[in-house]
């Protein structure tokens, strides 16, 4: 990649996007699937672009650079775009799940129960307070921890832990392009920004510490990125592409210098130059990692290193006085959403979208001779006593069946569940409602072996716990952007509603639809078919097939083949906005297999009825009422075969996804509910949000007259700053007090009492200086409380103290922007209570 800017790409790109926005892409062309997956951090999620959607705290945007770029690809491709990037993401989150914190959920049961009561759990699950509509993206763990008798019944308390699934779960051999930014949070980019640039927080000492830490972390991160890219590459087809984007510089003026003076001792730190040096080192680190990966088997990874050049002159102005009128990254005064600070604004996203647009599709993409989408299949098999012959038939051909499916798709995964009935109902201790025999795996042999291991139980009377099996299947981790099937083999109808679990037909239908959907295919080798099952199969685009026991395996094979040949449907959602918003519903990622799509049917409110039918894949629709449902698209090809896709639609009063009764700013979208001063009024609608506006005492700027690069005249105009409180009117708060500096633990620890003087939690860093040694620790103290914070003294400091009493200076830098200094003379024997 050339290090030079690519301005000439930007304008044509914007024109092409405008043209696309004005009309639907033509459909009269051969299917050309292209699956693009975005991974990484906030710069990829879309922080700063507005129009946020998706899991809380991820700040994914429908106006991100990647969305703009893939829009330009729709003229040539049927694009499935999946964004798994999430604000705050580090490299580890790409292949491991990420904890997003926990909340309390409690339910009331009108009887005396233990905390492990299944009814209480079901009630908690169905409350929706430990779930989200983003089923293939987030996961939740609900753990009961107390049951308290109350009002004649019991309140059962649960902890609900939320996780983002490993981002790369959506990357497989059906993916054509993976693009990402990653590594910035691993070197604590946010801390560097805060300590080096954010007025009221920045401090040259702390800035230097953060820059030094980043530099020390760089060599290890280089190897981790290299290793990750190699593993990512191994998950993808040899012709698939990986794009790694670099980051922009964070300060326009390379000569910006900060000074500080404490106790008459002045210090300067050239923050502009040093932070830029970290940025360059980051580029070198990433380039080295990419080169090492490509040295293995050719250039499969592209490092887009033009970002700094592209953004030259468009970086934020770190001075208190001024803003860069040509900025492409948010300055703090642009937004009360802190997640947006120092992230691309709309102009920045436009510019990168244009840069990528200049490369087209990077030579990726493949034809849809078979399903390019990949497929997830769960076999749900009734193993009650009467199923012996059917199961034997399946066992005989299981391996062949699985191999055939794998051969027809780019990426196939299989899982196996078997079901019987509750042992308490049948009286047979070997029975159970449902059992997971094999979780999703690409290793077909594993599932084939699990099928061979199936054994028969009893089952009691005829109806069986098929709904438990379906519920268990829907609880597995399904992939986005692939076809999804549950194939049920049974000779008995489901218990409906199911006792004990309480599951109903409608509940399992809704669970299926929420997963984009999962098609239900029932192979009935007896009398399993009911009106309810037929309805679920129809509404999920599945089917019901009568079969003899000996023909069961063939029917299963036919059902899967039928699904593979059906069109692939995809809605580029989810759609999040406020009442009155007009959304462009986009089904252009859908394509037929050997036959073009001729019809697009939209159910816009999730009621199961088609609201609009059209021959084009996009639909402009104005949502004139609040709604939290699924939009469903059914596509039909020239042979009458259909494909089905769903996506969440969440239209609210203010446009965020926070329930109005708990929204701290119910009339303005603020998905993160930021509240800097802890006054229960969200920053977005708080006239005095409490952001600091003046530098810390003793901190001052030293700038030179060096001219910043002049932005290109072809650059897009920056987005209009949001109306926020001007810097000069904001008020800094000193929200901690320090006292009682002590030595403890036989001189190994220095403790200091930190009192948080505001209602909101106080966080920040303590830096203790003893002689020439500085050591640090972060603190976190609840509002109005006092905590004792301990710093471990380095050996050098202990040795020094043992020789003579010394002055120790502890500086508390708070995230609210204040700095408090406490000084005392200490000696090793200063061990007091």
């Amino acid at each position: 990649m050339s290090p030079h800017g690519r301005w000439y790409f930007v304008l044509p790109f914007l024109v092409s996007v405008a043209l696309i926005a004005g009309g639907s892409p033509a459909t009269a062309r051969a299917a050309s699937p292209l699956k693009v997956v975005q991974l990484g951090d906030s710069y990829s999620a879309g922080n700063g672009a507005g129009d946020y959607y998706g899991p809380k705290d991820c700040y994914r945007s429908t106006s991100s650079y990647a969305r703009l770029w893939v829009s330009s690809l729709k003229t040539a491709h049927n694009v499935t775009f999946i964004n798994r990037a999430c604000s705050g993401g580090v490299l580890d989150n790409l292949d491991h799940r990420r904890s997003m914190g926990e909340t309390d959920v409690n339910v009331y049961v009108p009887s005396t129960v233990e905390k492990d009561d299944p009814g209480a759990r079901r009630q908690a699950e169905q409350s929706g307070r430990c779930a989200s509509p983003y089923r293939d993206d987030e996961s939740f763990e609900l753990s009961p921890y107390a049951a308290v008798p109350q009002l004649g019944g019991t309140v059962v308390y649960f902890k609900c832990k939320r996780y983002m699934n490993p981002q790369w779960d959506v990357v497989d051999k059906s993916a054509d392009i993976v693009l990402m930014t990653v590594g910035g949070n691993d070197v604590r980019f946010a801390d560097i920004v805060a300590e080096c640039f954010v007025v009221g927080i920045r401090d040259p000492h702390e800035c230097k510490d953060k820059v030094d830490e980043a530099n020390r972390d760089m060599p290890g991160l280089a190897q981790r990125i290299e290793d990750f890219l190699k593993r990512l590459k191994a998950r993808m087809r040899p012709d698939a592409k990986i794009l790694l984007l670099s980051y922009p510089f964070l300060e326009k003026d390379e000569n910006l210098t900060l000074g500080t003076e404490v106790f008459g001792i002045g210090t300067r730190y050239d923050v502009g130059r040093q932070v830029r040096a970290v940025g360059r080192a980051g580029d070198e680190m990433q380039r080295g990692a990419v080169n090492a990966v490509n040295a293995e088997d050719g250039a499969r990874v592209t490092f887009i290193d033009d970002i700094k050049t592209l953004f030259a002159g468009h970086e934020p102005d770190g001075r208190v006085c001024c803003q860069n009128d040509s900025r492409w990254l948010h300055e703090p005064t642009d937004s009360t959403i802190r997640y947006e600070w120092y992230h691309f604004n709309r102009s920045g996203h436009d510019a990168i979208g244009g840069l990528l647009g200049g490369f087209g599709d990077f030579g990726a993409g493949h034809s849809a001779t078979s399903t390019a989408a990949g497929i997830d299949v769960v076999f749900a098999i009734d193993t009650t006593g009467s199923m012996g012959n059917s199961i034997n038939a399946v066992k005989q051909t299981a391996t062949q069946l699985i191999n055939d499916v794998s051969a027809q798709t780019t990426s196939a995964r299989f899982a196996l569940i078997d079901f019987r009935d509750y042992a308490s109902r049948t009286g047979s201790p070997g029975d159970y409602p449902a059992k997971l025999d094999a979780d999703f795996t690409t290793q077909g042999a594993t599932v084939a072996a699990a099928i061979q291991d199936l054994s028969l139980g009893y089952g009691g009377d005829t109806p069986e716990t098929m709904f438990s099996a379906l519920h268990m299947a829907y609880g597995l981790t399904w992939r986005a952007g692939v076809k999804k099937l549950v194939v049920v083999l049974s000779d008995a109808p489901p218990l409906s509603p199911e006792p004990i679990s309480g599951l109903t037909a409608n509940q399992v239908l809704q669970e299926s639809l929420a997963i984009d959907p999962v098609e239900l295919h029932l192979v009935d080798v007896g009398s399993a078919t009911t009106t309810e099952l037929t309805d679920i199969a129809q509404q999920t685009n599945g089917g019901v097939y009568d079969s003899s026991s000996s023909g069961a395996a063939q029917q299963i094979s036919d059902a899967i083949d039928r699904s593979i040949d059906q069109p692939y449907a995809w809605v580029q959602g989810p759609y999040v906005g406020k009442v009155g918003d007009t959304k462009t519903l986009d089904g252009s990622g859908s394509y037929g297999i050997g036959s073009e799509i001729v019809s697009y049917e939209w159910d816009l409110d999730g009621d199961g009825n088609t609201d609009v039918t059209s021959a084009t894949p996009t639909l402009e629709h104005t949502f004139d009422a609040a709604i939290d449902a699924l939009v469903t698209l059914r596509v039909t090809d020239g042979q009458g075969r259909t494909g089905l896709a769903t996506t969440p639609v969440r239209i609210s009063d203010d446009g965020d996804e926070v329930a109005r009764d708990v929204d701290n700013c119910p009339d303005v979208a603020n998905p993160g509910q930021e509240d800097e001063d802890g006054d229960a009024v969200g920053d977005v609608c708080d006239p005095t949000p409490g952001f600091p506006t003046k530098d810390l005492p003793g901190v001052y700027e030293i700038t030179t007259a060096a001219a910043a690069p002049t932005p290109s005249p072809s650059a897009p105009a920056p987005s209009a700053p949001r109306p926020t409180t001007p810097k000069a009117k904001m008020k800094a708060k000193a929200n901690v007090k320090l006292s009682k500096l002590r030595l403890s633990a036989n001189g190994r620890r220095l403790t200091v009492r930190v009192r948080c003087t505001t209602k909101a939690r106080c966080t920040g860093r303590l830096a203790a200086k003893l002689g020439r040694t500085t050591f640090r620790v972060s603190y976190r103290v609840k509002g109005g409380k006092t905590a004792t914070v301990a710093l471990t003294l380095p050996r050098k400091a202990r040795t020094s103290l043992s020789r003579r009493p010394q002055k120790v200076t502890v500086t508390a830098t708070t995230s609210a922007g204040a700095r408090t200094v406490h000084t005392v003379r200490l000696a090793r024997h200063t061990l007091r209570g």
């Binding site: 906030s42 705290d57 604000s87 705050g88 580090v90 491991h96 990420r98 904890s99 949070n185 946010a190 801390d191 920004v193 805060a194 820059v211 030094d212 830490e213 980043a214 530099n215 020390r216 972390d217 760089m218 060599p219 290890g220 190897q223 981790r224 290793d227 080192a281 959403i337 802190r338 997640y339 600070w341 993160g672 930021e674 002590r742 403890s744 633990a745 036989n746 620890r749 403790t751 930190v754 966080t763 860093r765 040694t773 500085t774 050591f775 640090r776 620790v777 972060s778 976190r780 905590a787 004792t788 914070v789 301990a790 710093l791 471990t792 380095p794 050996r795 050098k796 007091r832 209570g833």
Partner: protein, 146 residues
Amino acid sequence: MSRRTLVVTAAAWLLLAVGGCGEGGPQLDALRADPLADYRPPGAREVETSADPESDGGVLGKPREARFEHLYAVTDSPANVFDDALGAAKAAGWTVERADSGTVALLVKNLATGRASATITLLESPAGLPEGVSPPALSIVLTHRR
């Protein structure tokens, strides 16, 4: 033991206990409790120790993983110091993911509180070193994963 000594000792233990609770979250505490956090390489002089507890959101709202670092100025053979540190990490139960460069070792370990990684880096350039410290230096960083 005099009454005064008793009081002082009790107070010291109390302070130690309270201080331990107040200095960070459970993930940072878990890192500090790991034997590798107490390791001191021979042939090296401690320069800096820093500890950041996990956080749900800093100035930019970003969550932060708990991080604990020891930085040493190397006074003996750099290769020996690096190898000794790597050996100490293994002895402390860390699993080596990669250590082929001779200057960087990546390790992982499951702590009671969750997964953690360790990075042992032999720093051969001045970048990242505090004033007055010349390369080579040894950095041992423990990071708790979220």
